[in-house]
Symmetry: C3
Protein backbone atom coordinates (compact mmCIF):
# COMPACT_ATOMS: atom_id res chain seq x y z
CA UNK A 1 0.00 0.00 0.00
CA UNK A 2 2.89 2.28 0.75
CA UNK A 3 6.62 1.87 0.87
CA UNK A 4 7.08 4.15 3.86
CA UNK A 5 8.61 2.16 6.68
CA UNK A 6 7.00 4.27 9.42
CA UNK A 7 3.56 3.78 7.92
CA UNK A 8 4.31 0.07 7.65
CA UNK A 9 5.10 -0.16 11.37
CA UNK A 10 2.24 2.06 12.44
CA UNK A 11 0.02 -0.16 10.24
CA UNK A 12 1.28 -3.30 11.96
CA UNK A 13 0.84 -1.80 15.44
CA UNK A 14 -2.52 -0.21 14.58
CA UNK A 15 -3.74 -3.56 13.21
CA UNK A 16 -2.65 -5.39 16.34
CA UNK A 17 -4.32 -2.73 18.53
CA UNK A 18 -7.61 -3.04 16.61
CA UNK A 19 -7.32 -6.85 16.88
CA UNK A 20 -6.80 -6.63 20.65
CA UNK A 21 -9.83 -4.35 21.04
CA UNK A 22 -11.93 -6.79 18.96
CA UNK A 23 -10.65 -9.77 20.92
CA UNK A 24 -11.59 -8.05 24.19
CA UNK A 25 -15.16 -7.53 22.92
CA UNK A 26 -15.38 -11.20 21.94
CA UNK A 27 -14.02 -12.39 25.31
CA UNK A 28 -16.61 -10.28 27.11
CA UNK A 29 -19.19 -12.27 25.09
CA UNK A 30 -17.50 -15.57 26.12
CA UNK A 31 -16.62 -16.62 22.57
CA UNK A 32 -14.38 -19.64 22.11
CA UNK A 33 -10.74 -19.03 21.00
CA UNK A 34 -11.60 -19.33 17.33
CA UNK A 35 -14.44 -16.83 17.71
CA UNK A 36 -12.09 -14.43 19.52
CA UNK A 37 -9.64 -14.68 16.62
CA UNK A 38 -12.35 -14.03 14.00
CA UNK A 39 -13.70 -10.99 15.85
CA UNK A 40 -10.14 -9.69 16.24
CA UNK A 41 -9.60 -10.25 12.53
CA UNK A 42 -12.81 -8.56 11.44
CA UNK A 43 -12.27 -5.57 13.75
CA UNK A 44 -8.74 -5.08 12.45
CA UNK A 45 -9.19 -5.49 8.71
CA UNK A 46 -12.98 -5.29 8.18
CA UNK A 47 -12.92 -1.64 7.10
CA UNK A 48 -10.12 -2.08 4.58
CA UNK A 49 -11.79 -5.26 3.34
CA UNK A 50 -15.08 -3.47 2.63
CA UNK A 51 -13.11 -0.70 0.87
CA UNK A 52 -11.24 -3.18 -1.36
CA UNK A 53 -14.40 -5.13 -2.15
CA UNK A 54 -16.17 -1.94 -3.30
CA UNK A 55 -13.36 -1.15 -5.74
CA UNK A 56 -12.84 -3.10 -8.95
CA UNK A 57 -9.56 -4.76 -9.87
CA UNK A 58 -8.46 -4.79 -6.25
CA UNK A 59 -7.76 -7.91 -4.22
CA UNK A 60 -8.41 -7.59 -0.53
CA UNK A 61 -5.14 -6.26 0.91
CA UNK A 62 -4.54 -8.86 3.63
CA UNK A 63 -4.76 -11.71 1.09
CA UNK A 64 -1.65 -10.32 -0.57
CA UNK A 65 0.12 -8.87 2.47
CA UNK A 66 0.20 -11.67 5.04
CA UNK A 67 2.01 -9.57 7.67
CA UNK A 68 -1.40 -8.11 8.59
CA UNK A 69 -2.64 -11.61 9.35
CA UNK A 70 0.35 -12.29 11.58
CA UNK A 71 -0.20 -8.96 13.42
CA UNK A 72 -3.79 -9.99 14.07
CA UNK A 73 -2.89 -13.46 15.31
CA UNK A 74 -0.21 -11.93 17.58
CA UNK A 75 -2.65 -9.30 18.90
CA UNK A 76 -5.38 -11.86 19.55
CA UNK A 77 -3.11 -14.36 21.29
CA UNK A 78 -1.67 -11.50 23.37
CA UNK A 79 -5.22 -10.47 24.35
CA UNK A 80 -6.11 -14.05 25.36
CA UNK A 81 -2.92 -14.51 27.40
CA UNK A 82 -3.05 -11.17 29.19
CA UNK A 83 -6.81 -11.03 29.47
CA UNK A 84 -6.75 -10.05 33.13
CA UNK A 85 -4.11 -7.35 32.72
CA UNK A 86 -5.54 -5.54 29.73
CA UNK A 87 -7.36 -3.00 31.86
CA UNK A 88 -3.98 -1.60 32.83
CA UNK A 89 -3.12 -1.27 29.17
CA UNK A 90 -6.42 0.26 28.13
CA UNK A 91 -4.99 3.75 27.71
CA UNK A 92 -2.14 2.58 25.50
CA UNK A 93 -4.60 0.50 23.50
CA UNK A 94 -6.90 3.47 23.01
CA UNK A 95 -3.93 5.48 21.75
CA UNK A 96 -2.98 2.82 19.20
CA UNK A 97 -6.61 2.38 18.19
CA UNK A 98 -6.73 6.14 17.59
CA UNK A 99 -3.47 6.12 15.61
CA UNK A 100 -5.04 3.28 13.60
CA UNK A 101 -8.14 5.39 12.92
CA UNK A 102 -6.08 8.30 11.59
CA UNK A 103 -3.80 6.08 9.55
CA UNK A 104 -6.57 3.92 8.10
CA UNK A 105 -8.58 7.01 7.12
CA UNK A 106 -5.67 8.52 5.18
CA UNK A 107 -4.80 5.16 3.56
CA UNK A 108 -8.44 4.82 2.41
CA UNK A 109 -8.38 8.35 0.96
CA UNK A 110 -5.16 7.71 -0.93
CA UNK A 111 -6.45 4.45 -2.40
CA UNK A 112 -9.57 6.30 -3.57
CA UNK A 113 -7.39 8.93 -5.27
CA UNK A 114 -5.24 6.23 -6.89
CA UNK A 115 -8.45 4.81 -8.35
CA UNK A 116 -9.36 8.19 -9.82
CA UNK A 117 -12.44 8.76 -7.67
CA UNK A 118 -14.05 12.07 -6.70
CA UNK A 119 -13.33 13.81 -3.38
CA UNK A 120 -16.71 12.72 -2.00
CA UNK A 121 -16.04 9.07 -2.85
CA UNK A 122 -12.52 9.27 -1.40
CA UNK A 123 -13.80 10.67 1.89
CA UNK A 124 -16.41 7.87 2.05
CA UNK A 125 -13.68 5.27 1.40
CA UNK A 126 -11.49 6.82 4.11
CA UNK A 127 -14.34 6.72 6.60
CA UNK A 128 -15.20 3.12 5.67
CA UNK A 129 -11.55 2.10 6.09
CA UNK A 130 -11.37 3.74 9.51
CA UNK A 131 -14.76 2.79 10.94
CA UNK A 132 -16.28 -0.30 9.33
CA UNK A 133 -14.14 -2.82 11.18
CA UNK A 134 -16.02 -1.80 14.29
CA UNK A 135 -19.36 -1.93 12.46
CA UNK A 136 -18.74 -5.50 11.30
CA UNK A 137 -17.52 -6.48 14.79
CA UNK A 138 -20.78 -5.23 16.31
CA UNK A 139 -22.90 -7.00 13.68
CA UNK A 140 -21.10 -10.29 14.39
CA UNK A 141 -21.60 -10.02 18.13
CA UNK A 142 -25.26 -9.17 17.43
CA UNK A 143 -25.30 -5.57 18.66
CA UNK A 144 -26.32 -2.34 17.02
CA UNK A 145 -23.05 -0.78 15.82
CA UNK A 146 -21.80 1.57 18.51
CA UNK A 147 -20.82 4.29 16.05
CA UNK A 148 -24.51 4.77 15.15
CA UNK A 149 -25.37 5.65 18.68
CA UNK A 150 -22.79 6.90 21.07
CA UNK A 151 -19.63 8.26 19.73
CA UNK A 152 -18.61 10.58 16.94
CA UNK A 153 -15.91 8.19 15.81
CA UNK A 154 -16.88 8.33 12.13
CA UNK A 155 -17.29 12.10 12.16
CA UNK A 156 -13.68 12.45 13.28
CA UNK A 157 -12.73 10.37 10.28
CA UNK A 158 -14.85 12.47 7.88
CA UNK A 159 -13.36 15.72 9.21
CA UNK A 160 -9.86 14.28 8.81
CA UNK A 161 -10.73 13.47 5.20
CA UNK A 162 -11.97 17.01 4.56
CA UNK A 163 -8.77 18.48 6.03
CA UNK A 164 -6.73 16.25 3.73
CA UNK A 165 -8.50 17.71 0.70
CA UNK A 166 -8.20 21.28 1.97
CA UNK A 167 -4.45 20.77 2.43
CA UNK A 168 -4.18 19.21 -0.99
CA UNK A 169 -6.01 22.13 -2.60
CA UNK A 170 -3.68 24.47 -0.71
CA UNK A 171 -0.76 22.78 -2.43
CA UNK A 172 0.65 20.93 0.58
CA UNK A 173 2.55 17.80 -0.48
CA UNK A 174 3.95 14.60 1.05
CA UNK A 175 4.61 13.79 3.80
CA UNK A 176 2.79 16.69 5.53
CA UNK A 177 -0.33 16.03 3.44
CA UNK A 178 -0.72 12.68 5.21
CA UNK A 179 0.74 13.61 8.56
CA UNK A 180 -1.38 16.65 9.41
CA UNK A 181 -4.79 14.92 8.98
CA UNK A 182 -3.55 11.86 10.88
CA UNK A 183 -2.39 14.02 13.79
CA UNK A 184 -5.59 16.09 13.75
CA UNK A 185 -7.74 12.94 13.77
CA UNK A 186 -5.76 11.67 16.76
CA UNK A 187 -6.04 14.97 18.67
CA UNK A 188 -9.73 15.42 17.84
CA UNK A 189 -10.60 11.85 18.76
CA UNK A 190 -8.76 12.05 22.08
CA UNK A 191 -10.53 15.38 22.79
CA UNK A 192 -13.89 13.75 22.01
CA UNK A 193 -13.18 11.05 24.56
CA UNK A 194 -11.60 13.36 27.15
CA UNK A 195 -14.37 15.96 27.11
CA UNK A 196 -17.19 13.52 26.32
CA UNK A 197 -18.21 15.42 23.21
CA UNK A 198 -21.29 13.99 21.47
CA UNK A 199 -23.84 15.03 18.89
CA UNK A 200 -26.69 17.19 20.10
CA UNK A 201 -29.73 14.91 20.24
CA UNK A 202 -32.20 15.40 17.40
CA UNK A 203 -34.93 13.78 19.44
CA UNK A 204 -35.49 16.39 22.10
CA UNK A 205 -36.84 19.55 20.43
CA UNK A 206 -35.35 21.82 23.10
CA UNK A 207 -31.82 20.70 22.48
CA UNK A 208 -32.03 19.91 18.80
CA UNK A 209 -30.06 22.24 16.60
CA UNK A 210 -29.81 20.37 13.33
CA UNK B 1 -26.00 3.22 -16.00
CA UNK B 2 -28.33 4.57 -18.62
CA UNK B 3 -28.45 7.76 -20.59
CA UNK B 4 -32.21 8.09 -20.37
CA UNK B 5 -33.06 11.31 -18.61
CA UNK B 6 -36.35 10.03 -17.18
CA UNK B 7 -34.63 7.02 -15.67
CA UNK B 8 -31.98 9.36 -14.28
CA UNK B 9 -34.58 11.47 -12.48
CA UNK B 10 -36.62 8.50 -11.29
CA UNK B 11 -33.33 7.06 -10.02
CA UNK B 12 -32.53 10.23 -8.11
CA UNK B 13 -36.03 10.47 -6.62
CA UNK B 14 -36.21 6.73 -5.90
CA UNK B 15 -32.83 6.91 -4.15
CA UNK B 16 -33.93 9.86 -2.03
CA UNK B 17 -37.19 8.04 -1.15
CA UNK B 18 -35.31 4.92 -0.09
CA UNK B 19 -32.93 7.11 1.94
CA UNK B 20 -35.85 8.84 3.68
CA UNK B 21 -37.45 5.49 4.56
CA UNK B 22 -34.11 4.26 5.93
CA UNK B 23 -33.60 7.48 7.89
CA UNK B 24 -37.07 7.12 9.44
CA UNK B 25 -36.21 3.60 10.62
CA UNK B 26 -32.96 4.87 12.17
CA UNK B 27 -34.71 7.78 13.91
CA UNK B 28 -37.25 5.38 15.41
CA UNK B 29 -34.21 3.60 16.91
CA UNK B 30 -32.83 6.96 18.21
CA UNK B 31 -29.62 6.81 16.19
CA UNK B 32 -27.40 9.88 16.16
CA UNK B 33 -27.30 12.01 12.95
CA UNK B 34 -24.38 10.08 11.53
CA UNK B 35 -26.14 6.78 12.15
CA UNK B 36 -29.27 8.12 10.46
CA UNK B 37 -27.20 9.06 7.42
CA UNK B 38 -25.52 5.64 7.23
CA UNK B 39 -28.83 3.77 7.50
CA UNK B 40 -30.30 6.07 4.82
CA UNK B 41 -27.25 5.37 2.67
CA UNK B 42 -27.36 1.60 3.10
CA UNK B 43 -31.12 1.41 2.50
CA UNK B 44 -30.81 3.46 -0.68
CA UNK B 45 -27.79 1.89 -2.36
CA UNK B 46 -27.23 -1.37 -0.45
CA UNK B 47 -28.97 -3.53 -3.05
CA UNK B 48 -27.05 -2.08 -5.99
CA UNK B 49 -23.85 -2.28 -3.98
CA UNK B 50 -24.28 -6.00 -3.30
CA UNK B 51 -25.04 -6.50 -7.01
CA UNK B 52 -21.90 -4.65 -8.12
CA UNK B 53 -19.75 -6.47 -5.59
CA UNK B 54 -20.96 -9.87 -6.86
CA UNK B 55 -19.95 -9.01 -10.42
CA UNK B 56 -16.34 -8.86 -11.55
CA UNK B 57 -14.79 -5.81 -13.21
CA UNK B 58 -17.50 -3.55 -11.80
CA UNK B 59 -16.88 -0.69 -9.39
CA UNK B 60 -19.72 0.06 -7.04
CA UNK B 61 -21.96 2.49 -8.95
CA UNK B 62 -22.19 5.28 -6.36
CA UNK B 63 -18.39 5.57 -6.15
CA UNK B 64 -18.38 6.68 -9.77
CA UNK B 65 -21.72 8.51 -9.91
CA UNK B 66 -21.67 10.91 -6.95
CA UNK B 67 -25.17 12.29 -7.66
CA UNK B 68 -26.55 9.25 -5.82
CA UNK B 69 -24.61 10.28 -2.73
CA UNK B 70 -26.01 13.82 -2.93
CA UNK B 71 -29.58 12.44 -3.31
CA UNK B 72 -29.06 10.37 -0.18
CA UNK B 73 -27.65 13.26 1.85
CA UNK B 74 -30.56 15.46 0.70
CA UNK B 75 -33.13 12.76 1.55
CA UNK B 76 -31.62 12.12 4.97
CA UNK B 77 -31.34 15.80 5.93
CA UNK B 78 -34.93 16.29 4.71
CA UNK B 79 -36.05 13.37 6.90
CA UNK B 80 -34.27 14.81 9.96
CA UNK B 81 -35.69 18.32 9.42
CA UNK B 82 -39.27 17.23 8.75
CA UNK B 83 -39.25 14.32 11.13
CA UNK B 84 -42.60 15.28 12.69
CA UNK B 85 -44.34 15.84 9.37
CA UNK B 86 -43.27 12.70 7.54
CA UNK B 87 -46.43 10.84 8.50
CA UNK B 88 -48.36 13.17 6.22
CA UNK B 89 -45.98 12.30 3.41
CA UNK B 90 -46.01 8.56 4.03
CA UNK B 91 -48.21 7.80 1.00
CA UNK B 92 -46.02 9.79 -1.39
CA UNK B 93 -42.95 8.12 0.10
CA UNK B 94 -44.45 4.68 -0.36
CA UNK B 95 -45.15 5.52 -3.99
CA UNK B 96 -41.56 6.62 -4.62
CA UNK B 97 -40.23 3.63 -2.73
CA UNK B 98 -42.37 1.44 -5.02
CA UNK B 99 -41.16 3.24 -8.14
CA UNK B 100 -37.65 2.67 -6.81
CA UNK B 101 -38.34 -1.05 -6.41
CA UNK B 102 -39.54 -1.38 -10.01
CA UNK B 103 -36.73 0.70 -11.41
CA UNK B 104 -33.97 -0.93 -9.37
CA UNK B 105 -35.21 -4.40 -10.34
CA UNK B 106 -35.06 -3.62 -14.07
CA UNK B 107 -31.67 -1.89 -13.74
CA UNK B 108 -30.32 -5.00 -11.97
CA UNK B 109 -31.69 -7.26 -14.73
CA UNK B 110 -30.12 -5.15 -17.48
CA UNK B 111 -26.74 -5.10 -15.77
CA UNK B 112 -26.91 -8.90 -15.50
CA UNK B 113 -27.63 -9.14 -19.24
CA UNK B 114 -24.79 -6.74 -20.06
CA UNK B 115 -22.50 -9.11 -18.14
CA UNK B 116 -23.68 -12.05 -20.24
CA UNK B 117 -25.40 -13.91 -17.40
CA UNK B 118 -28.22 -16.45 -17.60
CA UNK B 119 -31.88 -15.49 -17.09
CA UNK B 120 -31.87 -17.07 -13.62
CA UNK B 121 -28.81 -15.06 -12.56
CA UNK B 122 -30.27 -11.84 -14.02
CA UNK B 123 -33.52 -12.29 -12.08
CA UNK B 124 -31.52 -12.88 -8.88
CA UNK B 125 -29.48 -9.72 -9.54
CA UNK B 126 -32.68 -7.74 -10.18
CA UNK B 127 -34.18 -8.97 -6.93
CA UNK B 128 -30.99 -8.22 -5.00
CA UNK B 129 -30.87 -4.70 -6.46
CA UNK B 130 -34.49 -4.07 -5.49
CA UNK B 131 -34.61 -5.71 -2.07
CA UNK B 132 -31.22 -5.99 -0.40
CA UNK B 133 -30.98 -2.36 0.69
CA UNK B 134 -33.79 -3.16 3.10
CA UNK B 135 -32.12 -6.40 4.18
CA UNK B 136 -28.87 -4.59 5.04
CA UNK B 137 -30.83 -1.83 6.83
CA UNK B 138 -32.52 -4.43 9.03
CA UNK B 139 -29.23 -6.20 9.79
CA UNK B 140 -27.64 -2.90 10.85
CA UNK B 141 -30.51 -2.02 13.16
CA UNK B 142 -30.28 -5.56 14.55
CA UNK B 143 -33.63 -6.91 13.37
CA UNK B 144 -34.57 -9.92 11.32
CA UNK B 145 -35.02 -8.58 7.77
CA UNK B 146 -38.70 -7.74 7.30
CA UNK B 147 -38.85 -9.25 3.79
CA UNK B 148 -38.23 -12.71 5.29
CA UNK B 149 -41.33 -12.49 7.40
CA UNK B 150 -44.12 -10.17 6.52
CA UNK B 151 -44.31 -8.86 3.07
CA UNK B 152 -43.98 -10.28 -0.39
CA UNK B 153 -41.71 -7.44 -1.45
CA UNK B 154 -39.08 -9.64 -3.05
CA UNK B 155 -41.65 -11.83 -4.80
CA UNK B 156 -42.98 -8.75 -6.57
CA UNK B 157 -39.46 -8.11 -7.78
CA UNK B 158 -39.00 -11.72 -8.97
CA UNK B 159 -42.31 -11.66 -10.88
CA UNK B 160 -41.30 -8.37 -12.49
CA UNK B 161 -38.07 -10.03 -13.60
CA UNK B 162 -39.91 -12.99 -15.09
CA UNK B 163 -42.24 -10.66 -17.02
CA UNK B 164 -39.21 -8.83 -18.40
CA UNK B 165 -37.87 -12.10 -19.83
CA UNK B 166 -41.27 -13.15 -21.21
CA UNK B 167 -41.55 -9.79 -23.00
CA UNK B 168 -38.01 -10.11 -24.29
CA UNK B 169 -38.69 -13.60 -25.64
CA UNK B 170 -41.86 -12.22 -27.26
CA UNK B 171 -39.69 -9.74 -29.16
CA UNK B 172 -40.71 -6.59 -27.30
CA UNK B 173 -37.93 -3.97 -27.41
CA UNK B 174 -36.97 -0.70 -25.66
CA UNK B 175 -38.48 1.27 -24.07
CA UNK B 176 -41.59 -0.94 -23.52
CA UNK B 177 -39.37 -3.83 -22.42
CA UNK B 178 -38.33 -1.82 -19.37
CA UNK B 179 -41.52 0.16 -18.84
CA UNK B 180 -44.04 -2.70 -18.66
CA UNK B 181 -42.27 -4.67 -15.88
CA UNK B 182 -41.65 -1.46 -13.92
CA UNK B 183 -45.34 -0.52 -14.11
CA UNK B 184 -46.47 -4.07 -13.27
CA UNK B 185 -44.15 -4.17 -10.24
CA UNK B 186 -45.60 -0.86 -9.07
CA UNK B 187 -49.23 -1.98 -9.56
CA UNK B 188 -48.64 -5.40 -8.00
CA UNK B 189 -46.79 -3.97 -5.02
CA UNK B 190 -49.49 -1.36 -4.35
CA UNK B 191 -52.14 -4.12 -4.64
CA UNK B 192 -50.19 -6.25 -2.14
CA UNK B 193 -50.25 -3.39 0.34
CA UNK B 194 -53.83 -2.30 -0.37
CA UNK B 195 -55.36 -5.78 -0.08
CA UNK B 196 -52.87 -7.06 2.51
CA UNK B 197 -51.84 -9.99 0.36
CA UNK B 198 -49.35 -12.33 2.02
CA UNK B 199 -48.00 -15.82 1.57
CA UNK B 200 -50.11 -18.67 2.90
CA UNK B 201 -48.42 -19.87 6.06
CA UNK B 202 -46.49 -23.11 5.71
CA UNK B 203 -46.63 -23.67 9.46
CA UNK B 204 -50.32 -24.42 9.91
CA UNK B 205 -51.10 -27.73 8.14
CA UNK B 206 -54.71 -26.73 7.40
CA UNK B 207 -53.74 -23.67 5.40
CA UNK B 208 -50.44 -24.83 3.95
CA UNK B 209 -50.53 -25.42 0.22
CA UNK B 210 -46.93 -25.17 -0.80
CA UNK C 1 -14.50 -24.91 -10.90
CA UNK C 2 -13.37 -28.42 -11.63
CA UNK C 3 -14.06 -30.87 -14.38
CA UNK C 4 -14.17 -33.88 -12.11
CA UNK C 5 -17.60 -35.47 -12.35
CA UNK C 6 -17.52 -36.86 -8.80
CA UNK C 7 -16.69 -33.46 -7.39
CA UNK C 8 -19.50 -31.99 -9.47
CA UNK C 9 -22.03 -34.40 -7.96
CA UNK C 10 -20.69 -34.08 -4.42
CA UNK C 11 -20.89 -30.32 -4.93
CA UNK C 12 -24.51 -30.53 -6.04
CA UNK C 13 -25.45 -32.81 -3.14
CA UNK C 14 -23.40 -30.83 -0.60
CA UNK C 15 -25.05 -27.61 -1.78
CA UNK C 16 -28.52 -29.13 -1.45
CA UNK C 17 -27.64 -30.45 2.04
CA UNK C 18 -26.42 -27.02 3.17
CA UNK C 19 -29.59 -25.47 1.69
CA UNK C 20 -31.78 -27.96 3.58
CA UNK C 21 -30.01 -27.21 6.85
CA UNK C 22 -30.44 -23.47 6.24
CA UNK C 23 -34.11 -23.91 5.33
CA UNK C 24 -34.70 -25.87 8.56
CA UNK C 25 -33.20 -23.00 10.59
CA UNK C 26 -35.46 -20.50 8.78
CA UNK C 27 -38.58 -22.64 9.31
CA UNK C 28 -37.80 -22.85 13.02
CA UNK C 29 -37.91 -19.03 12.96
CA UNK C 30 -41.28 -19.09 11.07
CA UNK C 31 -39.97 -17.30 7.99
CA UNK C 32 -42.25 -17.11 4.96
CA UNK C 33 -41.38 -19.31 1.92
CA UNK C 34 -39.28 -16.61 0.30
CA UNK C 35 -37.33 -16.10 3.52
CA UNK C 36 -36.76 -19.87 3.78
CA UNK C 37 -35.37 -19.88 0.24
CA UNK C 38 -33.02 -16.95 0.93
CA UNK C 39 -31.67 -18.51 4.13
CA UNK C 40 -31.20 -21.81 2.26
CA UNK C 41 -29.40 -19.90 -0.48
CA UNK C 42 -27.12 -17.96 1.86
CA UNK C 43 -26.24 -21.04 3.93
CA UNK C 44 -25.36 -23.02 0.80
CA UNK C 45 -23.33 -20.50 -1.19
CA UNK C 46 -22.54 -17.74 1.31
CA UNK C 47 -19.03 -19.00 2.04
CA UNK C 48 -18.06 -19.34 -1.61
CA UNK C 49 -19.63 -15.97 -2.33
CA UNK C 50 -17.53 -14.21 0.32
CA UNK C 51 -14.44 -15.98 -1.07
CA UNK C 52 -15.15 -14.85 -4.65
CA UNK C 53 -15.92 -11.30 -3.54
CA UNK C 54 -12.58 -11.05 -1.71
CA UNK C 55 -10.67 -12.03 -4.86
CA UNK C 56 -10.26 -9.71 -7.82
CA UNK C 57 -11.28 -10.65 -11.36
CA UNK C 58 -13.61 -13.34 -10.07
CA UNK C 59 -17.37 -13.39 -10.60
CA UNK C 60 -19.34 -15.07 -7.89
CA UNK C 61 -19.45 -18.75 -8.90
CA UNK C 62 -23.21 -19.33 -8.77
CA UNK C 63 -23.87 -16.42 -11.14
CA UNK C 64 -22.01 -18.34 -13.82
CA UNK C 65 -22.89 -21.90 -12.81
CA UNK C 66 -26.68 -21.94 -12.43
CA UNK C 67 -26.82 -25.61 -11.42
CA UNK C 68 -25.95 -24.51 -7.87
CA UNK C 69 -29.06 -22.31 -7.85
CA UNK C 70 -31.23 -25.24 -8.99
CA UNK C 71 -29.72 -27.48 -6.27
CA UNK C 72 -30.61 -24.87 -3.68
CA UNK C 73 -34.16 -24.43 -4.93
CA UNK C 74 -34.62 -28.22 -4.97
CA UNK C 75 -33.18 -28.58 -1.45
CA UNK C 76 -35.33 -25.77 -0.06
CA UNK C 77 -38.57 -27.02 -1.65
CA UNK C 78 -37.72 -30.52 -0.39
CA UNK C 79 -37.23 -29.12 3.12
CA UNK C 80 -40.57 -27.28 3.00
CA UNK C 81 -42.46 -30.32 1.71
CA UNK C 82 -40.94 -32.85 4.12
CA UNK C 83 -40.68 -30.47 7.03
CA UNK C 84 -42.18 -32.94 9.48
CA UNK C 85 -40.03 -35.85 8.37
CA UNK C 86 -36.65 -34.18 8.34
CA UNK C 87 -35.82 -35.35 11.85
CA UNK C 88 -35.63 -38.89 10.49
CA UNK C 89 -33.18 -37.67 7.87
CA UNK C 90 -31.05 -35.62 10.22
CA UNK C 91 -28.18 -38.10 10.25
CA UNK C 92 -27.97 -38.29 6.45
CA UNK C 93 -28.14 -34.51 6.31
CA UNK C 94 -25.33 -34.16 8.80
CA UNK C 95 -23.23 -36.49 6.68
CA UNK C 96 -23.82 -34.48 3.51
CA UNK C 97 -23.23 -31.23 5.38
CA UNK C 98 -19.92 -32.69 6.54
CA UNK C 99 -18.99 -33.83 3.04
CA UNK C 100 -19.85 -30.29 1.95
CA UNK C 101 -17.52 -28.85 4.58
CA UNK C 102 -14.59 -31.00 3.42
CA UNK C 103 -15.26 -30.35 -0.25
CA UNK C 104 -15.82 -26.62 0.11
CA UNK C 105 -12.63 -26.25 2.16
CA UNK C 106 -10.49 -27.93 -0.49
CA UNK C 107 -12.20 -26.01 -3.33
CA UNK C 108 -11.46 -22.75 -1.50
CA UNK C 109 -7.81 -23.75 -1.04
CA UNK C 110 -7.40 -24.61 -4.71
CA UNK C 111 -8.94 -21.34 -5.84
CA UNK C 112 -6.52 -19.50 -3.56
CA UNK C 113 -3.58 -21.38 -5.12
CA UNK C 114 -4.89 -20.64 -8.64
CA UNK C 115 -4.84 -16.95 -7.69
CA UNK C 116 -1.20 -17.20 -6.61
CA UNK C 117 -1.82 -16.54 -2.92
CA UNK C 118 0.30 -17.58 0.07
CA UNK C 119 -0.44 -20.71 2.11
CA UNK C 120 -1.85 -18.61 4.96
CA UNK C 121 -4.25 -16.80 2.60
CA UNK C 122 -5.29 -20.10 0.96
CA UNK C 123 -6.11 -21.67 4.32
CA UNK C 124 -8.18 -18.60 5.24
CA UNK C 125 -10.05 -18.82 1.92
CA UNK C 126 -10.69 -22.55 2.47
CA UNK C 127 -12.06 -21.87 5.93
CA UNK C 128 -14.23 -19.01 4.68
CA UNK C 129 -15.60 -21.22 1.88
CA UNK C 130 -16.44 -24.00 4.34
CA UNK C 131 -17.76 -21.97 7.25
CA UNK C 132 -19.07 -18.55 6.27
CA UNK C 133 -22.37 -19.76 4.82
CA UNK C 134 -23.34 -20.64 8.38
CA UNK C 135 -22.03 -17.32 9.69
CA UNK C 136 -24.16 -15.35 7.21
CA UNK C 137 -27.18 -17.56 7.98
CA UNK C 138 -26.86 -16.77 11.69
CA UNK C 139 -26.45 -13.03 11.04
CA UNK C 140 -29.61 -13.01 8.90
CA UNK C 141 -31.67 -14.83 11.54
CA UNK C 142 -30.25 -12.37 14.09
CA UNK C 143 -28.21 -14.76 16.19
CA UNK C 144 -24.56 -14.78 17.20
CA UNK C 145 -22.89 -17.14 14.72
CA UNK C 146 -22.82 -20.60 16.27
CA UNK C 147 -19.23 -21.30 15.16
CA UNK C 148 -17.99 -18.53 17.48
CA UNK C 149 -19.39 -20.26 20.49
CA UNK C 150 -20.10 -23.92 20.49
CA UNK C 151 -18.50 -26.04 17.92
CA UNK C 152 -15.03 -26.41 16.44
CA UNK C 153 -16.43 -26.44 12.92
CA UNK C 154 -13.99 -23.90 11.56
CA UNK C 155 -11.01 -25.50 13.28
CA UNK C 156 -11.74 -28.74 11.44
CA UNK C 157 -11.60 -26.74 8.25
CA UNK C 158 -8.31 -25.05 9.18
CA UNK C 159 -6.69 -28.39 10.09
CA UNK C 160 -7.87 -29.86 6.78
CA UNK C 161 -6.20 -26.93 5.04
CA UNK C 162 -2.93 -27.49 6.89
CA UNK C 163 -2.96 -31.18 5.97
CA UNK C 164 -3.46 -30.24 2.33
CA UNK C 165 -0.30 -28.13 2.41
CA UNK C 166 1.68 -30.78 4.26
CA UNK C 167 0.69 -33.35 1.61
CA UNK C 168 1.56 -30.93 -1.15
CA UNK C 169 4.97 -30.23 0.33
CA UNK C 170 5.46 -34.01 0.62
CA UNK C 171 4.96 -34.27 -3.14
CA UNK C 172 1.53 -35.94 -3.10
CA UNK C 173 -0.43 -35.13 -6.26
CA UNK C 174 -4.00 -35.30 -7.58
CA UNK C 175 -6.40 -36.84 -6.77
CA UNK C 176 -5.00 -37.96 -3.38
CA UNK C 177 -3.99 -34.37 -2.58
CA UNK C 178 -7.67 -33.41 -2.51
CA UNK C 179 -9.14 -36.66 -1.30
CA UNK C 180 -7.09 -37.14 1.88
CA UNK C 181 -7.90 -33.74 3.45
CA UNK C 182 -11.56 -34.10 2.50
CA UNK C 183 -11.76 -37.52 4.16
CA UNK C 184 -9.85 -36.32 7.22
CA UNK C 185 -12.14 -33.30 7.60
CA UNK C 186 -15.15 -35.63 7.42
CA UNK C 187 -13.72 -38.09 9.96
CA UNK C 188 -12.55 -35.36 12.33
CA UNK C 189 -15.84 -33.48 12.16
CA UNK C 190 -17.88 -36.63 12.80
CA UNK C 191 -15.57 -37.44 15.73
CA UNK C 192 -16.07 -33.92 17.12
CA UNK C 193 -19.83 -34.43 17.05
CA UNK C 194 -19.76 -38.05 18.26
CA UNK C 195 -17.45 -37.41 21.22
CA UNK C 196 -18.65 -33.86 21.89
CA UNK C 197 -15.15 -32.43 21.57
CA UNK C 198 -14.95 -28.71 22.25
CA UNK C 199 -12.33 -26.08 23.01
CA UNK C 200 -11.16 -25.84 26.59
CA UNK C 201 -12.75 -22.71 28.01
CA UNK C 202 -10.42 -19.74 28.35
CA UNK C 203 -12.72 -18.15 30.90
CA UNK C 204 -12.21 -20.50 33.81
CA UNK C 205 -8.59 -20.24 34.97
CA UNK C 206 -8.55 -23.82 36.23
CA UNK C 207 -9.41 -25.34 32.88
CA UNK C 208 -7.71 -22.85 30.59
CA UNK C 209 -4.76 -24.28 28.70
CA UNK C 210 -4.17 -21.79 25.94
Amino acid sequence: MTSNIYIFWFGVIGTAAFAISGAMTAMRKKFDPFGVLIIGFVTAVGGGTVRDVLLKDVSVFWLEEPHFVYSIIAGTVFAMLFRKNLDMLSKSLLLFDTIGLGLYTVIGLEIGLNNGLSGMSCIILGTITGSFGGVLRDILVNEIPVIFRKEIYATVSIIGGLIYFILKTAGITDPLLQLIPILLIIVFRLAVIRFKISYPSIYNPKKARK
